[in-house]
């Protein structure tokens, strides 16, 4: 599972480079994100713009990673393609995950939050 990470303030923007998040990639995906969280990322914004296909194993991997992040760290999502959005809605995962319309939205929100908190 290849991805590119860019640090933007508090946000670790993680762009998945593959076209599929499925049973064949789920374990690699989990291990990759856990490693980034272990390296100190407190707020991962997962960019799924390139993911054209996700199955239930991919969805399970997302849930697993969110649990791993725990209550103190954040895993949020952006860039849902129509197929991925459909799976999110059917399984009601769109209510569980914070989904941003775009990376800029998430960044703006984080900047607004940072002020009073720091």
């Amino acid at each position: 599972m290849n991805f590119e990470t860019t640090q933007n303030g508090v946000i670790t923007h993680l762009l998945l480079s593959e076209a599929r998040l499925d049973a064949a990639h789920a374990i690699q995906f989990k291990e990759g994100i856990r490693a980034i969280a272990d390296n100190g990322a407190d707020y991962i914004l997962l960019d799924m713009t390139n993911i054209e296909f996700m199955d239930s194993s991919g969805l399970g991997a997302l849930v697993s990673v969110m649990k791993y992040m725990g209550a103190e760290k954040k895993l949020e999502i952006t860039g849902l393609t129509p197929m991925v959005e459909k799976v999110f809605k059917l399984t009601r995962m769109d209510e569980v995950f914070r989904v941003h319309n775009c990376f800029e939205d998430a960044l703006l929100e984080a900047q607004n939050m940072e002020g009073p908190l720091s």
Partner: protein
């Protein structure tokens, strides 16, 4: 020749037939093949997406649970268009299988993050998206028939 008149709109060649060995890597190959065929048959993109989601779950299920070792079995996918219904049939020569009866969503209202389910979404998606499906065990083969309207 009433039968042939009846079939005028749906000629016999409007069928898809392909098979894979039971290994994880071949699932995406089959899905691609099916997607291209459906597009060529002018099936709309949202229906293609539906079929891709369901077929992926059904194939993953066979590959994960149907055989004791990889590349030891055969999984066949057939698609037939009957008027406005698309019938997808998956058959395999693996271990006898019965689909789970429960149709509830894996995600419950009271779920907190720690107790979120990481599995059980596969059959839920199959039930949600298909119009109906049937399962038979015939001549040592599992046969899952998925209908999309």
């Amino acid at each position: 020749m009433n039968a042939s008149i009846h079939r005028n709109q749906m000629p016999n060649d409007q069928k898809f037939h392909s098979s894979i060995m039971n290994c994880q890597a071949s699932v995406s190959v089959m899905l691609d093949e099916v997607r291209k065929w459906l597009a060529q048959e002018n099936v709309c993109s949202s229906k293609i997406t539906d079929i891709q989601i369901v077929l992926a779950e059904a194939l993953n299920n066979v590959i994960e649970h149907g055989f004791s070792c990889e590349n030891s079995g055969n999984v066949v996918v057939c698609i037939d268009m009957q008027d406005d219904i698309i019938v997808v049939e998956i058959s395999d020569n693996g271990i006898e299988f019965t689909p789970p009866v429960a149709a509830q969503t894996p995600l419950q209202d009271t779920c907190d993050i720690e107790h979120l389910p990481e599995g059980g979404f596969g059959w839920f998606l199959i039930r949600e998206i298909t119009t109906s499906f049937t399962f038979h065990r015939v001549a040592n083969k599992n046969r899952l028939v998925l209908n999309f309207q």
